[in-house]
């Protein structure tokens, strides 16, 4: 059984609770949901749809986590009104976990605040909810109506996905190569639709060379390949991360419903050798329009962005600061840096990273999605070119329809903003 199947099978809604049920691949099943993440969408389509049901309750308000992150602090009247509608709904239906607008980006904050645990099922009103699979759980994004369904019943239907086993061979990344480069290499191979409805299951002896931040980047971008979810096998890295997280300990104790990967006897699989990965870049206008950074050297850029739920972790900020230290951003380029959460921001301050960014001439913003979706704080103008650590570069994603976005690792973005043009991180690595 795949890890995804194992988790789904322990959550199946069944009439007779004695017999274990093993769901078949392709079967449509109803499962209990452990965590329901909602953000601004709560004030968008979720609230008006839920009101139509005429219910005066949410079945499990303790399972709902509500956060504001896309437009914080609000840049427009419309966005403020959306926040007001969302907050009113959360109060009216007694949602128990209200995180407000000062914590950071949903996918970074939920694990950080201990809401995500191995073996659970989490859904969210956001396509990048796949991110939590880094912590050995099943998680996926859904639309507003699915959220309403889960609010009302505590359950949701899923088609059991077919697994794709990604086995990391004993290997490590070369210097200047990161999980983002691996994610982009996978996009080069699978395109944006090869893995629709599938579960990406990561395991293998090289897994221990992928930090939690690396796993987050990979699970995050699995949705760019069309995957339903991505899941990483539980190991000592998962365990240590959770044990060091006081929020996790206070919610779950030192207990894990860890899910391990059986010996892979069937299903599609691919072996990954980390040492063969090169710095990669996705060119406009699709995350699978991938080539090596070396093939794009010299393309002039107007903006660099380091942040988002894909690459706004402390580790990401460290790798960017390592390169930017003692350098300045090119005078014709602006560089926006946004730590993915307030906790990361604080730690980056303590470590002196924020000072490095500011001395280099970067604009450091409060934790928000902001420029990632063209919302605020770095929206691109006509024909502007941006190199970004985010996950999508569709037309219009970060602003003007004519703007062009290149996706790369924080190290590649940092090297590029110094030169004002796309630059290999190896230029700044001793």
């Amino acid at each position: 059984m795949s890890m995804t199947q194992k988790i789904l099978s322990t959550h199946i809604v069944k009439d007779d609770s004695t017999s274990p049920v093993i769901p078949e691949i392709g079967e449509i099943i109803e499962v209990e949901i452990d965590v329901i993440m909602v953000h601004e969408q709560l004030g968008g389509r979720i609230a008006p749809e839920y009101e139509k049901l005429g219910l005066d309750y949410i079945k499990h308000p303790e399972r709902v986590v509500f956060i504001l992150d896309h437009w914080v602090p609000s840049p427009t009247i419309d966005a403020s009104n959306m926040h007001i509608r969302a907050n009113e709904f959360a109060k009216k239906y007694k949602i128990e976990n209200i995180l407000g607008e000062n914590k950071g980006i949903c996918h970074t904050v939920l694990p950080e605040q201990g809401f995500i645990a191995p073996g659970m099922i989490a859904i969210g009103s956001d396509s990048h909810t796949t991110t939590y699979g880094a912590f050995n759980c099943f998680s996926t994004g859904v639309g507003a109506t699915d959220i309403c369904n889960a609010f009302a019943t505590g359950t949701l239907w899923f088609k059991v996905p077919e697994p794709l086993h990604l086995i990391i061979k004993k290997s490590t990344f070369e210097k200047g190569v990161f999980a983002k480069d691996l994610a982009l290499s996978l996009l080069e191979e699978y395109g944006v639709d090869d893995l629709i409805y599938q579960a990406m299951e990561f395991s293998g002896p090289g897994l221990r060379n992928l930090t939690i931040s690396s796993r987050v980047t990979l699970a995050n971008m699995s949705v760019e390949m069309g995957a339903k979810n991505a899941i990483f096998e539980f190991d000592s890295i998962t365990e240590n991360w959770l044990l060091q997280n006081s929020y996790y300990l206070s919610r779950h104790g030192e207990h894990f419903n860890s899910i391990s990967c059986d010996e892979i006897v069937e299903g599609k699989s691919k072996t990954i050798d980390l040492s063969t990965i090169q710095p990669m870049i996705a060119k406009p206008y699709s995350p699978d329009n991938v080539s090596e950074v070396n093939d794009c050297i010299g393309i002039e850029i107007d903006q660099g962005f380091i942040g988002s739920c894909t690459n706004g972790s402390l580790e990401d900020l460290r790798s960017a600061a390592y390169i930017l230290k003692g350098h300045t951003v090119h005078p014709d380029t602006r560089c926006v840096v946004i730590p993915a959460s307030a906790e990361i921001y604080l730690e980056a301050m303590r470590e002196g990273l924020i000072e490095i960014f500011m001395k280099a001439g970067c604009i450091v913003g409060p934790s928000t999605c902001g420029p990632c979706f063209g919302g605020h704080m770095g929206v691109l103008g006509d024909n502007e070119v941006c190199i970004s650590t985010t996950n999508r570069n569709f037309r219009g994603r970060m602003g003007s329809y004519s703007a062009q976005v290149y996706l790369a690792s924080p190290a590649t973005v940092a090297a590029s903003v110094i030169q004002g043009k796309i630059t290999s991180p190896s230029t700044y690595m001793e």
């Binding site: 109506t145 009302a152 944006v192």
Partner: protein, 166 residues
Amino acid sequence: MNTITGKVWVFGDFIDTDLIIPHAYLATSDPSELTKHAFESIYENFYQKVKRGDIIIAGKNFGTGSSREEAVFVLKQMGIAAVIAESFARIYYRNLINLGILAIQIENITHAVKNGDIITIDCRNGTLQNTTTSETFIFPSFPSFIVNLIEKGGTIHFLKEKLGKH
């Protein structure tokens, strides 16, 4: 959910949710204002050109990108009767079903239709005919669970009935 006949609008591959409804407009709470921007970068003033009962035909990975249900909601507002695509992005497919819009996957369909052709979909027999060219395609029948949701007009109506009974 027996037969549907309507005029088609043809779209290419990889029409993402930003092309269906740009993120910048999502904060508005006015449905008609939102709908004005549907597909605006592909067909200017699409909302004025489209008629209730029209059908969308698209290429690969239709609806890829964000989970925003607005990208299906605007179709519902415009009265789109069905969406046929060579493949769908996963969340978009769920959203179509959840809002009670018929979603059918047929390989290479974009090569067999032009804008303005009239097609007839027979859900019971799983056939789609381009009545302009007489070409016919087949598709597998839907699981009863999905038929039920669509016949009820979407998940909210389905839930209302289900929860109302308890």
